[in-house]
């Protein structure tokens, strides 16, 4: 099972109903292919960081929508094709996130394990104290040297 994040920007001139209709259409395409849309995040209208030009018009605002999709990955090609063909979509990105999320999960587990073992790492660093002091002393020496020169 793979998890994807489908982000697309719709023209700001498009009505909210049209955006909803597009989302429904994409959801239909996904479900037809055995994938499910687990989350719909309508981020709404916001300013673009740079202008995006689509043939005659230049857009400075966009209506952001993010769909989270769980599936095999084979449905993504069709979804992307639809987004490319849809005139009112000015930008779209698909990102696979399941691997990143799994990695985040791993970090979390590691941290929990470390905490359970008595928060080891910090103490280790403490025992490395003398070396640090030595470096500091060396630093001071160089600054003094510089002062003598000036």
């Amino acid at each position: 099972m793979r998890v994807y994040e489908l982000l697309f920007i719709v023209m700001p001139t498009e009505a909210d109903e049209a955006v909803d209709a597009l989302i429904e259409q994409l959801r239909g395409v996904a479900e037809e292919r055995g994938a499910s849309v687990t989350k719909i995040d309508k981020m709404g209208r916001r300013r673009l960081a740079y202008e995006i030009r689509v043939s005659p018009t230049t857009y400075t605002d966009g209506n952001y929508v993010v769909l989270t999709i769980e599936g095999s990955g084979s449905e993504i090609a069709e979804l992307e094709r639809r987004l490319r063909v849809t005139e009112s979509v000015i930008r779209h990105i698909t990102i696979r996130i399941d691997e990143d999320l799994k990695r985040a999960e791993k970090f979390k587990a590691k941290r929990a394990a470390r905490l359970a073992a008595g928060g080891g790492r910090r103490r280790d660093r403490g025992s490395a104290g003398p070396a640090e002091v030595f470096v500091e002393a060396a630093d001071d020496a160089t600054t003094e040297d510089e002062e003598e020169v000036s």
């Binding site: 995006i52 930008r91 990105i93 990102i95 001071d140 600054t143 510089e146």
Partner: protein, 81 residues
């Protein structure tokens, strides 16, 4: 020992830089989270290097990836002139 360095003779302050993502226990940097990203992308649009921000290697990689995605989504600028 991890406390900020005191002012020293030379006059400038050197501080022990700690990775912000490690201390805040962030495991995944979301490209949609502009609030976080913009802290590492100044006006010019360039990503702040590790040597300045103190971010650890793992998180810097994640950050760079997120910033690049955010640029693509027009959340952040590629350049400003």
């Amino acid at each position: 020992m991890a406390t900020p360095r005191a002012r020293r003779k030379g006059g400038f302050i050197r501080r022990r830089r700690v990775c912000r993502f490690c201390s805040e226990k962030i495991d995944y940097i979301d490209y949609k989270d502009i609030k976080v990203l913009s802290a590492f992308v100044p006006e010019r649009g360039k990503i702040i290097p590790r040597r300045i921000s103190g971010t650890c290697a793992t998180h810097q990689r994640m950050l760079a990836q997120a910033v690049k995605r955010a640029r693509n989504a027009a959340f952040l600028p590629y350049t400003t002139d």
